[in-house]
């Protein structure tokens, strides 16, 4: 049974529609990714799920509690790591964790032992007595994740957890997410990094301009692009008419030149290399390299949404992060 169910969720802010009737669900124990460019509605979705934004229409049920009447019960079972580290600058790491635990009514003894345990798990024991403002961005993000799970929630909402931090810290955080997942935590991860979603998530939804345009496991999504087989050939010499010649000789193959000596061959069936190599040989062209190209999730995303990678991280517009409506 799904632990989070969202049906036809619409969210409007002062005439601006941030979510246009999205539906998705999270199975218990999975990592579900919401992938989309800035301003797609990822943060707004999380804000509705954690109770920072009202539902305009549609329904949300978390851990069996329907919103809005079951929100307070659900809030005790969810943790959130926002897109910006928002702990208290003047408190040290240990105090921040203890304070966050106290908001869930956890006793002093238990919250202190849990804070120590998490500082150790996140390699922050030494930094535990330093004020939060003295932390690096990566350390801040790690402590914010620790604060999100201090009360041992069932579901964790991670809003762009690796945005704005260096590569090494991002790797550490991805490993931590995998550890948390192995321990049975259900995770909703929003990101605009395609590789991150591909690496961490079992299922992914593509969110564009407040609409979910496709949902599926990474394999299911890949299949859409894999309906075509692709072979890349690197040749000994250039032939400007080669694409046309191949397509005429092999009607089931569509050839496209990538550059002078590289050509992509697409086909609805696996490309048989022997006749192709013989044909090229007859044209006086040797094949230096032939490799099967499998489509990436990025290809699938671009194909479905029409959004290129460089458009994924562009600045948010009026409905963006600044207004809490990402």
């Amino acid at each position: 049974m799904p632990i989070v169910e969202v049906h036809h969720l619409v969210k409007k802010y002062d005439g601006f529609t941030a979510l246009e009737g999205i539906s998705f669900h999270l199975e218990e124990g999975e990592i579900f990714g919401l992938l989309g460019p800035n301003g797609a509605g990822k943060t707004t979705t999380i804000h509705v799920l954690v109770g920072l934004a009202h539902i305009t229409s549609g329904s949300v049920t978390v851990a069996g509690f329907p919103y809005p009447e079951g929100l307070k019960q659900a809030q005790g079972l969810i943790g959130i790591v926002p897109d910006e580290s928002n702990l208290y600058e003047d408190l040290d790491g240990f105090e921040n964790l203890c304070f966050c635990a106290s908001l869930y009514g956890i006793s002093k003894k238990k919250r202190e032992s849990r804070a120590r345990e998490l500082l150790e798990q996140f390699n922050l024991t030494e930094a535990g007595r330093r004020p939060f403002k003295a932390y690096s961005k990566g350390m801040k993000r790690k402590l914010t994740i620790a604060a999100g799970i201090i009360h041992e929630p069932k579901i964790l909402f991670l809003d762009e957890p690796t945005t704005g931090i260096d590569v090494a810290a991002a790797r550490q955080i991805r490993s931590l997410i995998q550890v948390l997942h192995r321990r049975g935590l259900t995770i909703l991860l929003t990101t605009h990094y395609i590789e991150e979603a591909e690496r961490l998530c079992r299922r992914i939804a593509f969110l564009v301009k407040g609409n979910i345009v496709r949902t599926g496991t990474t394999e299911e999504l890949m299949q859409e692009a894999q309906q075509e087989h692709m072979v890349q050939l690197t040749l000994s010499a250039a032939d400007p008419d080669l694409s046309q010649k191949i397509s005429q000789a092999f009607p089931h193959i569509r050839a496209e030149a990538v550059n002078d000596r590289t050509i992509h061959c697409y086909s609805g069936q696996p490309v048989n290399m022997t006749p192709l190599v013989v044909f090229l040989d007859q044209l006086g062209l040797s094949v230096f390299e032939a490799k099967i190209i499998r489509p990436s999730l990025e290809d699938v995303f671009v194909k479905i949404t029409g959004i290129e990678r460089n458009q994924m991280t562009q600045e948010k517009g009026p409905g963006g992060k600044g207004g809490g409506k990402g």
């Binding site: 802010y13 109770g51 934004a53 307070k72 809030q75 959130i80 910006e84 702990l87 106290s102 009514g105």
Partner: protein, 244 residues
Amino acid sequence: MKAWVAFWNILKKDMKTYYLKPPNISWGIIFPLAWTLMVFVKSGWSVNLLSLLPGVMSLSILFGTTSMLAVTITFERRSRSFERLLIAPLDLNVLILAKTSGAILFGMINAFFPVCLALFLIPLSGIAWAPVLADLFLISATSTFLGLFIAVSVSEVFEAQTFSNFFRFPMIFLCGLFIPVQDLPWFLRPLSYILPLTYGADILKSLIAKEGRLGLPLNFLVLLFFAVLLFAFSMRNVRKKWIV
């Protein structure tokens, strides 16, 4: 029980991170000293300290609480740490009471700085301290909820400070502390009766300087009404503006 753990820890954290910081403590000492000195100089050193004490106590609370609460909450909202509180499984009323209780306590502590100073100069043994304490609590609560009202209405820290002054400075002159209400121009008198501080100050004047005009029961009732009204109005705005 769980709500109390959260309530107590929010209060403790706010006292530690905001209210009991050295600049605020020094403010609590310097402010009443400066006011007392100003009145002394103005009156040619012949002022009755007992008449002065209610005014200084009231203003210490007003200035301490309104801007402090408005600024701290606006600051937490800007840094988004306030979201941590809003997503906790806490009733919103409990949460806001926890956030305001630090400022209420801070206001009451501020009011006692001038009392401590006065102890060295005049006898204060004839004063009924229980109703004074109740009044200080109510002045502090209404001033704090006014700060809350300001916090809900602004989004920047500087706006919170500017907006606080918009309310506070007219209050100094209209609440009857330094200019008796009956001596105000006729068109300003109605304004003074819609200010909570007028009633809080009148209680202090009755209990400390025996100069009150409106009677304790009416003053307490009106002050309580203002506290409830400001809290309810602010909560309505919190629900409307902070959970969008």
